[in-house]
């Protein structure tokens, strides 16, 4: 029993982090219809940025702050260089552009850090609740994921700037006509999306070792989570992440762990067949 509960709890905690990773993706998709193929690379970059600040002597949690700032700036730069020009071009061009960005990030990352694993070695405390062991790092990252998500939700649905982001998402030209500087908003959105991806990368780096290629797995999970939650729907993405985590956690005790992925993806495709725009409704 404890074993099952432990598994489910673990799943929930890690699911929140998947959710956070997915939010950056879903935001960028929702607002600009860009399937960001550099998402994984950016997550990995977040891991390495944290590593750099950590190496410079900052506590990992303190280092999240400069990582976030860097992430935002990096996102804006990527937008200006690679995405801005093609965003109103033929659909799917953004796929290519972000794929190219991904290649560049991974190429540079490989040159700098090779593809060998790194990890953030800091003191984590282990807590024990009735036989369930959990580390402080997992708790912190889960809580951070929730906070960031609700912060973003508040931003999007309650602030004027946030609503403007959604307006631009809906109809760029009309937004322009209403006085909304759409290019600026798009750059900000890409910045925020990138920042969230980097933050999730940084949090993951406090849990697991990583290489410059590690982003791939989380990119995949992000795709799944954001689709489950409904593309373009940030809270949906968080729940999508939780669902993923819970699936992983709750089937593990009963079957071979290597089957969890099969089950995960089958459930994913299955859910889509019944809810073609995700469980919580998203953009078409």
């Amino acid at each position: 029993m404890v074993e099952i509960l432990s598994s489910v709890m673990d799943g929930l905690l890690i699911g929140l982090v998947y959710g956070l990773a997915a939010i950056g993706l879903t935001l960028i998709f929702g607002v600009m219809d860009v399937v960001n193929l550099a998402h994984g690379a950016i997550i990995a970059l977040g891991m390495f940025f944290l590593y750099l600040f950590f190496g410079a002597g900052l506590h990992p949690y303190l280092a999240l702050l400069p990582v976030a700032v860097l992430g935002f700036i990096f996102g804006v730069i990527v937008y200006q260089i690679a995405v801005r020009k093609i965003i109103s071009g033929p659909p799917l061009m953004s796929l290519l552009a972000t794929f190219a960005v991904s290649m560049i990030i991974i190429g540079v990352g490989t040159a700098l850090w090779s593809t060998s694993p790194y990890n953030i070695n800091f003191k984590v405390t282990t807590y024990n609740f009735f036989g369930y062991t959990v580390t402080s790092a997992r708790l912190v990252s889960a809580v951070a994921a929730v906070l960031v998500t609700f912060g973003l939700y508040y931003f999007l649905y309650r602030t004027v700037l946030g609503k403007a982001v959604r307006a631009v998402a809906n109809n760029r030209e009309a937004a322009e006509l209403m006085g909304i500087p759409s290019q600026q908003i798009l750059a900000i959105t890409f910045g925020i999306g990138t920042m969230l991806a980097m933050l999730s990368g940084a949090l993951i780096a406090t849990l697991f070792p990583f290489t410059i290629l590690s982003g791939g797995v989380y990119e995949l999970k992000s795709f799944v989570a954001s689709v489950l939650g409904g593309l373009g729907n940030p809270t949906g993405a968080l729940f999508g992440g939780i669902i993923l985590g819970l699936i992983e956690g709750s089937v593990a005790p009963f079957i071979q762990v290597s089957w969890t992925n099969v089950i995960e993806f089958v459930i994913f495709v299955g859910i889509l067949l019944f809810f073609p725009t995700g469980l919580f409704g998203g953009r078409k």
Binding site: F29, V35, P90, L95, A100, G107, T110, V227, V269, K284
Partner: protein, 322 residues
Amino acid sequence: MKALKSPFFWLILALTALFAFYPRLGNNITLRETLVLSAVYIILASNLNLMIGYTGYVNFGSIVFFGLGGYFTLWLVGAHGWNVYAAVLFAGFITSLLAMALGFGILRLRGAYFALATIGVNEAVKDFVSNFDTWGGSEGIFLPFTTYKAMGGAGKALWTVYLLIILVMGISLLLSWYVKRSKFGLGLFAIREDEDAAIVLGVKAPKYKALIYSLSAFLPAVAGGLYFFKNGSVVPEEAFNLHLSIESIVMVMLGGQGTVSGPAVGAFLYERLRGLLLTTPSLSNFHLVIAGVLLLLIILFAPGGLMGWLYKKWPRIREVLE
């Protein structure tokens, strides 16, 4: 036959013949191995284009067909002693059938949902195969060397397989070309432009989509069978390599989606570019970066893909090539 009057039809035949005989002239193995990779990429990109370019459905997981083709083939050859010709054909048909069944389900999804669902399919199949002991699970299937001996030795077998792959490449191009000019193709284009409008105009969208999905699975599956037969083994990571799926999309877009020759040109150039960067010692440390930057430049300055750019510049070319 009207086809015989089209210059493009002859162009495809000539190109295929060139691919087939060029390396033979000098018995040049390196060239053959390079071209075989190009040909496989051309097959993947061309068939993917049937979905992306013609129908407007972005299949992110197209590689699943390639992988299944490889698995069916090696399983039939290895465990059941089939000859490779029969095995690849069977692999093609069964994969097409599976695609058809799957298509009726997931093709109800639109846009990015479809795209991401196909990733799900690919990953689900990959993870399933990794656990499927009949197919060797994560260890995959390895062919005994005697299989090649039965085909007159590895050297001969590899040449034969090469020619077959080139043949499949030629058929892929012809298929693209033929579909584009058919009523079926017209229906697909209508779906691409506006599926709701197409349905109201009488296009049986669900049937058409499932058909093209299934069709776009056939030749990649055959190619997968041949390719992995040539490799002598198939393991899940290589067979269902999502990255290759995404690269295939890049090739299609690079060359120009929706055109007949674009994906092939894109695939060829992409492979050559990557290959060149890899084997040039001074560049090889930065090959990813260089490839990325080049790709980005092309996207930013020739957004319709290379063929799109050419057609715009010299519209006459379009008449010949499409």
